[in-house]
């Protein structure tokens, strides 16, 4: 039987990008070995497998490294196919284009705004990031209606590409709520996404893969401390 060492995933537990890849692998029912990296002390394997970015996640398949989470997810989708194996991207080219558009929107617009809430050094910049995040999640709420066509997920009856892209950020959305009381997704402002988020969390893949929000909270506090320290030392 295909041994675990054929597929290795390098990541960190709380990385939304690694979470997305974990879920894709679980959805496909493939065995893999997970190696938790220490980003302050990157392994030889990580640095040699991803020399360009030296970052996680990296999927190593029979010695071949694949980097960048959305590239990895598409790779997993295209490599592992067959009877009974779920598809992550739809078959129709136009639906694929819509899915790629919204996944890119999550990656390029929503995530940087959301991450900025934790990472920017000044209150003024944080307010700006909160505004951008609000605007982005409103658009995603509308996108959900259009994409889901009344079904449970962006992809329909089961989770797919856009669900993974946005769903893997839910742990951080919860963490931001705990860190600064800001509700990015809420039943009052984004009711459809709030309901979707619950359903996402209940899926077998999410239950298996997504860590406790506490872990992300610890990590988030460390990040924020590092940002404050850098800001303080800069202003000296």
């Amino acid at each position: 039987m295909a041994a675990k060492e054929y597929l290795k995933l390098l990541g960190i537990d709380v990385s939304p990008f690694a979470i997305g890849v974990h879920m894709a692998l679980v959805m496909k029912g493939v065995n893999y070995e997970y190696i938790a990296e220490d980003l302050s002390n990157k392994s030889e394997l990580l640095v040699s497998s991803n020399p360009v970015h030296k970052n996680v996640p990296v999927l190593i398949h029979s010695g071949n490294p694949i980097c960048e989470s959305l590239v990895i997810v598409q790779y997993v989708d295209e490599f592992f196919t067959g009877a009974g194996v779920p598809s992550i991207l739809p078959a129709d080219p136009y639906e694929r284009a819509i899915a790629r558009f919204w996944a890119a929107y999550v990656d390029d617009k929503f995530f940087p705004a959301m991450a900025g809430i934790v990472l920017v050094p000044t209150e003024q910049k944080r307010v700006q990031k909160v505004k951008e995040t609000s605007a982005a999640i409103e658009l995603l709420e509308e996108a959900f209606t259009v994409c889901s066509k009344g079904k449970a997920f962006f992809s329909g009856d089961s989770i797919g590409y856009v669900d993974l892209a946005l769903g893997s950020l839910l742990i951080w959305i919860e963490t931001i709520r705990r860190m600064c009381g800001l509700e990015i997704i809420s039943a009052s402002k984004t009711p459809r996404l709030a309901a979707w988020a619950e359903r996402f969390g209940e899926t077998a893949a999410a239950k298996k893969v997504v860590p406790e929000a506490d872990q992300a909270l610890q990590y988030g506090k460390k990040l924020q401390a590092a940002v404050s320290a850098a800001a303080t030392s800069k202003s000296k």
């Binding site: 360009v52 959305l70 598409q74 295209e78 694929r96 284009a97 558009f101």
Partner: protein, 235 residues
């Protein structure tokens, strides 16, 4: 003749992102209607077709809009899989490599070039220059890895990465006149320099790349405008 397909491309002649879509359509031998947008006075059709970003390019296929240049190029490749060249390779691993480098061009190369030419401080522009040098070096390695000695990133024929990078060719050519820099310096990145010549000379590519002197004119006008604004702002 493939007249049943209704293909419309909303664009702006100087945009490298629009050029990507044109290159993909041209390399696949597809007919389409091109609509030049005035970005200071965007058409109803553009605003309706790309409500999220209000940007070009937008490809409208049988009335259905596709937005974002990399999404458009992949769409063209998949929707017209039987026609002309295949832009993405058939092997999943090679596809992953192609997508990785396309993402690299947009996430690292382009921002570093923008920083170099439009950074607001001397320090920022110097940083941009350093980052650009690293980025083109990585791309040179990518070309070596992907082409395996053949003429293009896609091998014997141009493919996805060729199109994504190729969209920048007009501005790469204009860069020498505007900034005295050749981003693909033959001394530092010989493979990329040769690739730029070769790709640019293709029958499907050459007529589609915007004229360098027109790009230079637009850039100079933009520079003058920014300088005037800066001077006005500091009064």
């Amino acid at each position: 003749m493939a007249g049943a397909e209704d293909l419309k491309l909303l664009g702006m002649w100087a945009s490298p992102f629009v050029l990507r879509a044109k290159l993909a359509l041209s390399l696949k031998g597809l007919n389409y209607e091109y609509v030049e947008e005035d970005l200071k006075n965007k058409s109803e059709l553009l605003l309706k077709s790309n409500p999220v970003h209000n940007k070009v390019p937008v490809l409208i296929h049988n009335g259905k809009p596709v937005c974002e240049s990399t999404v458009i190029v992949q769409y063209i490749d998949e929707a017209f899989a039987g026609t002309g060249l295949s832009l993405l390779p058939s092997d999943p691993y090679e596809r992953a490599l192609a997508r990785f480098w396309a993402a690299y061009i947009d996430d690292k190369l382009l921002p570093s070039w923008t920083k170099t030419s439009r950074g607001s401080t001397e320090e920022e522009r110097a940083e941009g220059k350093e980052q650009s040098a690293v980025a083109v070096e990585n791309l040179e390695g990518a070309l070596r890895e992907c082409s395996k000695g053949k003429p293009f990133f896609g091998g014997d024929n141009p493919g996805y990465v060729d199109v994504i990078l190729g969209g920048l060719l007009g501005w790469v050519r204009a860069s020498e006149e505007l900034y005295g820099i050749n981003p693909f310096d033959p001394a530092k990145t010989p493979l990329l320099a040769a690739w730029a010549e070769r790709f640019g000379a293709l029958e499907a590519v050459d007529p589609v790349i915007p004229e360098v002197n027109k790009l230079v004119e637009v850039a100079k006008m933009m520079q003058a405008k920014l300088a005037a604004e800066a001077a006005g702002a500091s009064n």
